[in-house]
Each structure stands twice: as C-alpha cells, then as structure tokens.
C-alpha cells in the first residue's frame, strides 16, 4: 500500500478507520460553524430529526455574517431564531459586526493542525491553510452534527500543487489562486483535495495561505490543505484553543495529479465576468471602466489586503471620480487593527464607504449592491452573474493591489503602472 495524503491521515484519525481515498467514513468533528445563511434551516431540521439536546455544544459556533446587519424583517427574524437557539443550547454565537465566520474560526484558534472543522458554508476550505481539514457542508449535515457530533464524508483523492520560487513585486496570493483556477478550471478539483507543497510555500505567510485555501473551492475542491510549519505555529501561539498534532503527508502518498506553479513567473491576473476560471493577464482587461471597487470578504478582507490596497491608492493619489470604493473588513479584529494603524482613516479620507465586518456585498445579501451595467472589480472569490445582488452587473476578480489601482484610475489597471 502506498503512503497517505494529509486528507487520508486526518479522516482516518477522525473516523477510527484506516481510510483511503474513495472510502466513505463517519467522522467525529472537532468543530462546526453555521452562518445565518445556513443555520436557520439546520435548526428546523434538528427539530424534525427529533433533536432536543445539542451534542457537545462547545464545538459548535454560529456567525451572523451573511446579513450583517439584517437588511429586513425576515432576516432579522432569522437572527432572532439563531440567538435564541444558541442561548438555549449554550452555543457560542458571533453576533452582527464581529465578522465572517471563517475568519473568526481562524482568529479564535478553532482551526488547528490535524483537525477536522466543517462549516455550513462553502468557504470553510479556508481552514486548510492551518493544516486543518476544513470543508463546506449543508444545513442537514449541521443538524446531524447537532444530533451526534458526526458527519459522513467520502475520503477525497488529492491533487498536489507544487509551488516553487517567490512572488515578484505587485503579484499576490490572489494571482496564484487565479492561476490555479485557470489551470484546473472551475471543476478541475471536484471531490478532491488540493494539497499545497514545495519550496515556495515557506515564503508564503499565513494570511497568504488563507487566500489560496479559500479559493480552492472555486475549482470544486473539498479541501485546500497546507502542511503546518513555523509560520503556522507562530500564528497559533496564544490563539490555539486546545493541543493539536500537525499532519504531514507520507513521502510515498498517492496523488491523482501533480501541478507545478513557478511563483517567479506569475504576473497580475484577473477573472472576467461571469466565471472564476475565465482568467487572463490583467492587461487583457486594462482600460475597461469600473464604477465600483470592493475590498473585503473571506478571501481579501484581512489586514495585509487593506495595507496593499491602501499603498497603491496613496501612491496614485486617491480614488478616481465616479468610483464607489467599498471597504468591508473580514472581522472586528481586522477593523481594530486597521483603525489603530491609520489605514482606515486613509480609506475614509479617500471617500470609501466602510461596511460592517461580515460578508457585506460579496453575495448580494446586504451592503452596497451594484447598479445595472456597472463593472465591479473585487477582492472576492466569486463573480457569477447576480452574485452581488444584481444580474445586470459585471464582476471582475483580482488582487487587492489590482483592485486599488483600478479604483485610482477608474479603469481596470495593472498596479505595476502605479508602483513602478
């Protein structure tokens, strides 16, 4: 038998079975997160299943992030339902304004190396940056976890993505993720784990890895896993909620496919409307007018993203007339940090609209909605038609620096034109 991948090792440990890719196993989860988009339905299913007591409620958390703040009566009622359920069952709830559940799972030290943490939201793959098997589940799965703390999972095959070299100036992890989407396509990793490896990984810090893991689901992946190293342990120092044991793949593990990305050779990229894998060098889109620029989300709403965007905007002299710049921090911790270090004041002085920490405009459920015919360039992870709440808008996806450069010029712009 060949050795095991990270996925095979974690799911074996969590199921108590010597599991291999293709097996279906029942696993005990280390944590589960539900959002206001998915939990109300899970609460209904839990009572339909005959549930009365939540199993191990200390391992369940809720985040009010998709409708933050509630834009109407119906969503306010969903929030009330979640608050009441959380209080009754002693479940920790992050209320409106605390941020995006995925970011909070990471910040609060719940996503730990070697762990299995599921989220009733597709971007739970983000936790893979910390060597934690994070994957998106549905509301009925969440209800089943309320019942017994377990979930059925098919053990995925793994694709190994070998990263070599270092990123050039003005090229960012988002560009690496878009390159991967271009190489694999929107379903190129369906049912599989993307396991990142190679000497290039060491040069990426934890925030960079979160961007890569987050976007793996846009290629259909079940998880996007890194090994743990000094940078992982450094981030978790003072955050980790319990002891953990990192998991590395065996040297003779089997991979369904191997891909190499040379970080040195990458240039800024953009995903064109309305598909995440319609990726081109940013030069192909340069000159197209933009009316809205969105900086935020669980992909591009962290401190480093705002610093990169601010630097470009300051170098360029601010936001162009006719552009609405929307800034939405991924969490209160991010908001506090950029407030303390002056970044937020810079954005405000440049006329930015500041949103409540949370999902904001990303999925069109609250926050600023683009108008008909509007071109948006965004640090988010999805650009489907209608994604931001208007099917007549056109969404481009790029790095924070490319988004900022475009905000500065009022047209899609390569940040290297401004920074060089």
């Amino acid at each position: 038998m060949p050795g095991k991948t990270i996925s095979e090792k974690i799911l074996s440990a969590k199921s108590g079975v010597d599991a291999r890719a293709g097996d279906v196993v029942v696993c005990r989860v280390d944590g589960a997160m539900g959002t206001d988009g998915s939990t109300p339905m899970a609460i209904d299913y839990f009572s339909a299943m005959g549930g009365t007591r939540v199993h191990d409620p200390g391992r369940v958390v809720f985040a009010l992030d998709h409708y933050a703040p509630a834009p109407g009566r119906a969503t306010a009622a969903l929030h009330q339902q979640m608050r009441e359920f959380a209080a009754r069952h002693h479940i920790h709830l992050w209320d409106v304004g605390e941020g995006i559940g995925h970011q909070l799972i990471v910040e609060s030290g719940r996503a730990l190396p070697g762990g299995l943490v599921v989220g009733a939201d597709s971007h739970a793959v983000t936790y893979g940056a910390l060597n934690c098997f994070g994957t998106g589940i549905g509301s009925s799965d969440l209800a089943a976890i309320f019942m017994g703390g377990e979930i059925w999972l098919r053990v995925p095959e793994s694709i190994r993505v070998q990263l070599t070299g270092r990123l050039q100036p003005s090229v960012y992890p988002k560009d690496v993720a878009l390159e991967l989407a271009r190489l694999l396509g929107a379903d190129g990793a369906t049912y599989q784990t993307i396991e990142f490896a190679g000497p290039g990984v060491g040069a990426l810090d934890l925030e960079d890895r979160l961007v890569l893991s987050n976007l793996t689901v846009e290629m259909g992946a079940k998880a996007g896993l890194f090994r743990a190293d000094e940078r992982t342990f450094e981030y978790l120092g003072g955050r980790a909620r319990e002891p953990f044991e990192a998991v590395a793949p065996d040297t003779d593990a089997h991979y369904s496919r191997e891909i190499e990305i040379s970080l040195d050779e990458l240039t800024p990229l953009v995903a064109l409307p309305h598909l995440v894998d319609r990726v081109e060098p940013i030069g192909e889109a340069c000159g197209r007018p933009v009316q809205m620029v969105y900086l935020g989300t669980c992909t591009g709403g962290r401190v480093r993203d705002f610093h990169q965007a601010r630097d470009v905007l300051k170098a360029a002299g601010g936001v162009a007339a006719g552009v609405q710049l929307v800034v939405t921090p991924a969490s209160r911790e991010v908001l506090e940090t950029i407030t303390r270090d002056g970044t937020l004041v810079d954005f405000i002085a440049m006329g930015a609209v500041i949103g409540t920490p949370g999902c904001g405009s990303c999925c069109g459920t609250c926050g600023a909605i683009p108008g008909d015919g509007v071109n948006v360039i965004s640090t988010a992870n999805r650009n489907f038609k209608g994604r931001m709440g208007n099917s007549e808008a056109f969404i481009y996806l790029a790095s924070p620096a490319s988004c900022a450069a475009s905000a500065a010029r009022g047209t899609i712009t390569d940040a290297r034109e401004i920074l060089s």
């Binding site: 279906v24 029942v26 339905m41 209904d44 549905g138 259909g220 038609k385």
Partner: protein, 173 residues
C-alpha cells in the same frame, strides 16, 4: 436500487450551473419555504422555467452542476418543485451532498444526447431516453448515500436511526 424506476420529462441545462442560478441568494433572504422558493427556480437562467415545471420533471445538466455556494435551498427548492432526480455529467461536491441529504437522486451520466422534453426512465444502473431509445450507464451510489436517499433524506434517516449507522472498515466504494 430498491426504489421503483423514476420516469419523467427532461428539463435541460448547460455546464457550470451554480447554486445562485438555481435559486438566488436574495430569494433565500425572504423565505426558506420550498413551496415559495420553487416559484423562482432558475430565474436567472430561464425566467420561464418556474411557470412550466411540473412534478416529476427531471433536471438534466452538463458539467459541474450546483457549483458555488453550498446553500441547501438550491436542493430543497428543486425538491419542492416535485423533481426527484438530477442527471449531470458532474456535480459540485456540496450540491451532490445536499442532494443525497434531502433524498434528491444525483446521477452522474453522459447527458449530452438528451434533449429538452425527452421522456426519461431511470432504472437500476441506467437511464433510458424513451423518446429515442438511447441508453446511458449510471455510476452506482455508495451504500451510505443510497441508505440516506432511500430513507428520504438525512432528517428521515435520523428520525429512524437516531444516529449514523457504523459502517465496517472494509465497506468501500
């Protein structure tokens, strides 16, 4: 499969139909009731669909059906319209999972020859196009998933069993 053959009319879509195209996030904001949501099924892709869908219709799609958000209403809205199976060349994993958990049969098969309106029959290991006699093989479902679908979804499964049945270590796909 123990369940009787499913027969119905093909409603054909293309590749990469994401969950927001099946039901938009903003509709979910107003209601989670499948009987309400079914009125807006596929409104971004085919505004006429909801008015013409009939119980028993079968969804036929290309690659990567149900990509994007993991929202389960993208399955319950389909189930709410009386659709019992989706045939596609491939599914996103979260849609596949949510389908199983709600008793909607997700079948992976080569759907390229199926035309809008064709009469289809889903049998044990194949799909027949009754309109032209063509036949496609279907990949069998792993045991666990079949049990959940046969129960009618995870809610019914838990109502019946109270927890997951423990599968033997060697019970492999």
């Amino acid at each position: 499969m123990k369940a009787p053959a499913i027969e119905g009319r093909a409603r054909v879509f293309g590749d990469d139909v994401n969950t927001d195209y099946i039901i938009t996030s903003r509709r979910k904001r107003e209601s989670l009731d499948p009987r309400v949501l079914r009125r807006y099924l596929f409104e971004e892709l085919d505004p006429g669909f909801a008015a013409t869908v009939e119980p028993g219709d079968l969804i036929v799609a290309g690659e990567n059906f149900g990509c994007g958000s993991a929202m389960e209403v993208a399955v319950t809205a389909v189930v709410g319209a009386g659709i019992r199976a989706v045939l596609a060349r491939g599914f996103s994993r979260t849609y596949y999972r949510n389908a199983v958990n709600n008793g909607l049969l997700p079948l992976i098969c080569d759907t390229r020859g199926i035309r809008e309106g064709d009469r289809l029959a889903i049998e044990r290991a194949c799909v027949r196009d009754l309109s032209n006699g063509a036949m496609w093989k279907v990949e069998p479902l792993p045991e666990v998933m079949r049990e959940i679908i046969e129960a009618g979804g995870l809610v019914e499964y838990f109502r019946k069993n109270g927890r997951f049945r423990v599968w033997a270590a060697d019970e492999r796909r």
